[in-house]
Structures are given as structure tokens and as C-alpha cells.
Subunit: 234 residues, 2 copies
Amino acid sequence: MSSAHGRPAVVLLSGGLDSTTVLAVAKRDGWSVNALTFSYGQRHAHEVERARAVAAKAKVARHAVATIDLAMFGGSALTDATVPVPKDRATEAMSSGVPVTYVPARNTIFLSFALAWAEVLGATDIFIGVNALDYSGYPDCRPEFIEAFEALANRATRAGAEGGARFTIHAPLMKLHKREIVALGASLGVDYGDTTSCYDPSPDGGACGRCDSCQLRRAGFSEAGITDPTRYAV
Amino acid sequence: MSSAHGRPAVVLLSGGLDSTTVLAVAKRDGWSVNALTFSYGQRHAHEVERARAVAAKAKVARHAVATIDLAMFGGSALTDATVPVPKDRATEAMSSGVPVTYVPARNTIFLSFALAWAEVLGATDIFIGVNALDYSGYPDCRPEFIEAFEALANRATRAGAEGGARFTIHAPLMKLHKREIVALGASLGVDYGDTTSCYDPSPDGGACGRCDSCQLRRAGFSEAGITDPTRYAV
């Protein structure tokens, strides 16, 4: 594993299982982590507090929380309280088509802000916890999306105009199953009790146990043979 | 000129000369205009009020103003009050290198939000007033940037994942000189008195007359032989 020797990177951190694992990978690989979290009008705003806890425990170099309003556009169960979060879906249903929990252009927006911060920091490396295997319905979690954003980053920026440093978008979980992500994080000492995955938590942050995200998390821990610290409602 | 027959498009509208002209072009071509403006912590926040005036006069279908904080990252004279806006620069200086008024990844962020809104509206067309001729220093105003964003849009979205409709990023001013932009807008009835260009206006919105943007605007009107309604401080 090559070391980044303390060079700065921007790590997108939602406070969920995947991005928290990515943060641990970035630290393992020697990056100085600048964590970026969004309060975007999500139904599960509780995750912003989880992100703060994760960032503090990981002793990141900087943690920024950007407030943006994606609810103004609507179009997703995660930002529109009138669109119910699907519950108790079978695994096959989760992997066919684009789910209503898809937030239009969310990862494009998140990566754009990460790019802005990276450019100001003099960083050329951005980490994102997308994963194409266990939940293939989100268009902006696929390898071709990440490749297209990397190409864009190298044209959009000062470095792109003047030559020199090239941006790399790191997606270290892209080809891992949830059980492998859990095992990886556990091996790096991640405290998954700090993380949240539920799309539709109770007001105190409790996990529903029935949305796609809860189901995938539970199955991942179970298959990895690791205890999930989450308390589920059902 | 083909007509869009009232199909919806998202038009990025800053309240400046270029984006206001683009809005007029989109209307001429038969698009139902959904104008999107950003309050992003810019020094010249006055332009948001100009955008509201432009959108109202143009009777757009919808006008949304998104609040985002690009000042949190700094790195630009337009978002950092401690970085002075350059004044009285010669034309050659304006066209060499990336100016300090460049806001890192700004157009990437703006287009990302436009993409989100377009996806929710069922629109596949986005208009942006970038221009590569008279002010070539901004990396995110070049044709290769627009092409890269278009490629990204077609991978980032529901349409990209499911096939079907393709996104087009329209940059109708890309290859026009400022004098041609002014003449085009004037021929379409644009009231440039509603627009603002100054990077460093006085508190009442008055134009400084000395920043790059004021100089380019003045020269454009002068070369087009059209009276600039702006009152400049000098």
C-alpha cells in the first residue's frame, strides 16, 4: 500500500457506513484528511451529527459542513417528505431500476464542492464511498460516472487549464460487497456504532430496519460475521 | 432557428450581461425557461437582485435562487474580502493566466445544481453564458469544460443509467466577442439597464469602471456602437 505521506485529500463523509470506511482507508494510506459533509435537506439529517462524531474520532485535519438545499428541487424520497421511503423490498427489487431514494445529481453536486475545496487546499485527490455492487440502482455510483467526473475535474480547474497536477477521484469501495466493506472497516478499527445508515430514522436517530439501506447494512454485518452495533426498530 | 416548442430548459442566470443575453436566446428559440441563480457569498451580491429583475421582465416559467456558501472555501477575490479585485489591468494581462477572480469549481457547481433541477423537471437542456474569447483565463469557461460536463451529465443521471434522453449543455456565447454578445442581446430586446457586471460594486450597486469585468463590458458596448446604460464611478 503506497503512502500519501501526509498530502491533503478531500474525503466526502456522510456519517454512513461506506463513507466512514473510506475515511479509514484514506487515513491508512497516509492522507491528511479534509472531511466534507453536507446538510442538504435530507430526511435523515441525523447523519450530519454522526459525521461530526466520526470526524472527531478520526482526528481529521479539517471537517467542513456545507449547507445546501436539495429539497428545493424535490424529486426524491430522501428530500421530499411526501414521497415515502420504500420498506421491506426484496434484494432483486433493490437492484432493478433507479430507486425513489435517488437524489438527482447529488453525487455530482457533492463532488463539485469537493473539487472546489481541493483546488483551494492545493489537493488533487478526492475520496468518495460509492459502491456499484450491492446497490446498483444509483446512476451516480457507477464506475463510468466516477471516470467522467475525473475527466471533468481535469478540465474544470486551474490545474486543468495550466497543465501540471492531475485530479484523481478515489472510490475504494466501488467493487466491494457490503460484507467486504464491513470487514475492511473493522480491520481498520472503525467504530460502526458512530455511523448511521437508515433512510427513515425515528426522531431520535433510531434505525427503521426496513428500508433498503438498513437491510443492506444488516446483511453486510451478518455475512461478515461481525456484530452490528445498530439498534433497529424491527 | 429551430424551435424548442415550449420544452423546459434550465438557464443559469447571474444577472450579468452574458447570462441575461443567453436567457433571451433561449426564449427566442422557444424554450420554457427555468432560471437558476446563486447567492454564493459573492462580493457583488447585488447581482442576485438584478437576476430577479431580469427574470421578472422576461416572464420566465420559474426562477429559483439557490443559496450556497462558496466563501467557506475562499481562494478567490470574488468570495474573499481580503483578496483585492484587480483594477486597471491591460487587455493582455486579462487574457494570460487564471485571474484571482476565478472562483474554484464555480461553474462545475452551478451546472451540477442545474442538472439536478433539470432531472426533476424532466428537462435535458441547460444553458450557460460562458465565453472563451474575450476573457480566456477561466478554466471553466472553455469548450473542453462544457463538453466534459455534458459527458458527465449523461452518466450521472437516471437518463444516463436507463438510456433514452440525452443532456445538452448549450453555451451559445462561447465563440462570440463581447461586442457581438451586446449586439445579439440588443437585437433581442434585452434591457441591459437591468444587468450588472462589476466585480467590486459600491454598496448601492454602482459599477467601479476599473475591474476586468467593467472594462470588458464598456469596450463591448463601445465596439458594438450601443450605449451602455451603466453608470460607472470612473
